[in-house]
Point group: C2
Chain length 363, copies 2
């Protein structure tokens, strides 16, 4: 493997697309003019790193990704600062997590320096696509798919690592406002020993049915309980989750079925930096409801790359409703959101070394 | 939706492939000259059913199948009888199961009559690809993939239903011989409330790591225990599993995390037809080992479309080895194998109405 980014070939698009208005971006709808692709074959390793015009993938219908789901993805964002710099937020952590997911799903490891070089060059090529309107960013989707066209159930001998990018608006267009959450008592997202820690497609597919049922009842997201006892809180939708109870902030411990969120880790470190007590531990849903009833549950919020912070104003567990913080965005949720998005966009100083500049040569 | 098969357009390949030698087919390596494709869009439903030359799929890199794994598959076989007829084995059951999987994974339902018409026409077009050597068959892989190119986590608004076909040899080229099984104590395949009952890609991807570890230790397959207590037997590899103990045949009950195998159901019905007692119930691994130690465990075998019957000669659970039936293929396993494959290939009468002829008009 090589970390020499000069080995990445670049084929520029001759037919650049019209950029959508920055106030109508939505999430993951428009894509930039280029993409990064690199191939893997057993014996040869990762090879032929290239930036090419954004284009369809041409895959044999027997490619293993369609049948046995060997695929990993990541999500991160690039931001345009007020003084026109380009910033990434903890990008190496995404590729490190990608390699942990790869290991779980029997996908070959990526060279992180190579992935970083690919990402930075792709951003430089498509830098005009980074939106600057408040709340917008360039969402980056690295992913790996198994491409070997054989139907035996075994790890693929061929893969592609691909990066696509999409200019996105604020995740909740109406701004940071509390959402209603349905506590899922029947369906299960993950169980220790399963693939819940990995950012792999199957986890998301099996969550859709519960999510749709919740939506039909007027809930934005689902709160997942553990797969063994349906008792301990795990995640909310595809976000990690935090609760402020009696002055202390609690978040479920990483017990083997919960995604290792980078925003989750950032929130924990930010709270500690502020001197606010944070505990990572098993948190039972009835304990949470008890705190809600006795008035010590002050705030609740989800954390993830897409929405950053998503306050929770109401929960419903087997028909019992719990209103949190009078259904309004809590002070701490707001502070965490403002600080994290401030650091991400360069408006707030970054004492943690989380942000990374993308250098554009010949800009 | 329509069941009028005359609406299926057929574009014949002008560049037919060379057929591989029937004694070197392997499993899922070669594909026939044609494939079936049908599209789905919200509002329009399933439309444009067509048989076209086997060709790559051209998909946006943002297609949901690559990211959120909304994909379902099935597996069944077509057989050439000694008198040159073409037989399918319980094909409607596959499409019915496909619709149950579709429901679990928020994929739109298929019209089963339409799917059957598509399958029969495709087989008729590629009938020369059905091998006739003993142990060979035409493996059929229907599958659905989500194709909408948007990154929001939600059910896709566009899908493709595809059927590809592959001439295959005997699953175990050395014939029906007992395999060694590793009992998995750490990794988990599925849990009630999860997607274990659905034939969806993610279940297979997350099983690979355990399978690879078992292979490295000389085991052919993994025996999965339940995800809650790691105590009850669920499946072996991607097969259902049966144990003959003291004259009665036991197989794990369908408790919500086990695939509803069509071969499993056929074996149960065949055994009952023969007057052999069969029980579907929870079966603990320590109960099985106790039966092994006290000499009442007579036979064990896996069941699935690919291998039909796969006898188990040895198991290893946390280092404790259990030899079953002196490591040889049991009498009942052999009878079940011979009878089922006999029915499938037309060599044995079918009192169950399981086989279905494919009529080739103008043959």
């Amino acid at each position: 493997m090589t970390t020499n980014s000069s080995l990445i070939s670049i084929q520029r698009s001759t037919d650049t697309k019209k950029k959508p208005p920055q106030d109508q971006l939505g999430f993951g709808i428009y894509y930039t003019d280029h993409m990064f692709v690199m191939d893997y074959s057993v014996g040869q390793g990762w090879h032929d790193p290239r930036i090419i015009p954004y284009q369809p993938l041409v895959l044999d219908p027997a490619a293993k990704v369609f049948h046995y789901g060997q695929t990993i993805f990541e999500g991160l964002k690039a931001y345009k600062t007020a003084d026109d710099r380009i910033q990434l937020f903890r990008p190496r952590d995404n590729f490190q997590r990608m390699n942990r997911s790869n290991d779980r799903m029997s996908v070959p490891e990526l060279d992180i320096d190579m992935a970083m070089a690919a990402l930075e060059q792709l951003i430089a090529v498509d830098r005009e696509w980074i939106p600057s309107l408040e709340g917008t960013s360039l969402y980056i989707r690295p992913f790996v798919i198994a491409t070997q066209p054989t139907l035996g159930v075994a790890p693929s001998e061929h893969y592609q690592f691909i990066i696509i990018m999409s200019p996105v608006g604020a995740y909740y267009p109406e701004g940071i406002n509390p959402v209603k959450i349905h506590v899922e008592s029947d369906y299960v997202r993950a169980v220790p020993g399963g693939s819940g820690e990995a950012k792999t497609a199957g986890n998301y597919a099996s969550a859709l049915k519960s999510q749709q049922a919740a939506k039909e009842q007027g809930y934005t997201q689902v709160l997942w309980l553990d797969g063994k006892q349906h008792k301990y809180i795990e995640e909310v939708g595809s976000m990690n989750v935090f609760f402020k109870i009696g002055g202390t902030v609690y978040t479920p411990a990483l017990t083997g079925s919960i995604l290792h969120g980078i925003t989750r880790d950032s929130v924990i470190r930010l709270l500690k930096h502020w001197g606010i007590p944070v505990e990572e531990r098993m948190l039972a849903i009835d304990e949470l409801y008890e705190a809600g009833r006795n008035g010590t549950l002050e705030e609740a919020f989800g954390t993830g790359t897409a929405a950053v912070i998503s306050p929770i104003g109401e929960m419903n567990w087997n028909g019992e409703k719990l209103i949190i913080g009078e259904g309004k965005t809590g002070q701490l949720s707001k502070s965490v959101y403002d600080t994290l998005t401030g650091i991400q966009t360069g408006a707030v100083a970054d004492p943690f070394g989380w942000t990374q500049q993308v250098e554009v040569i010949g800009k």
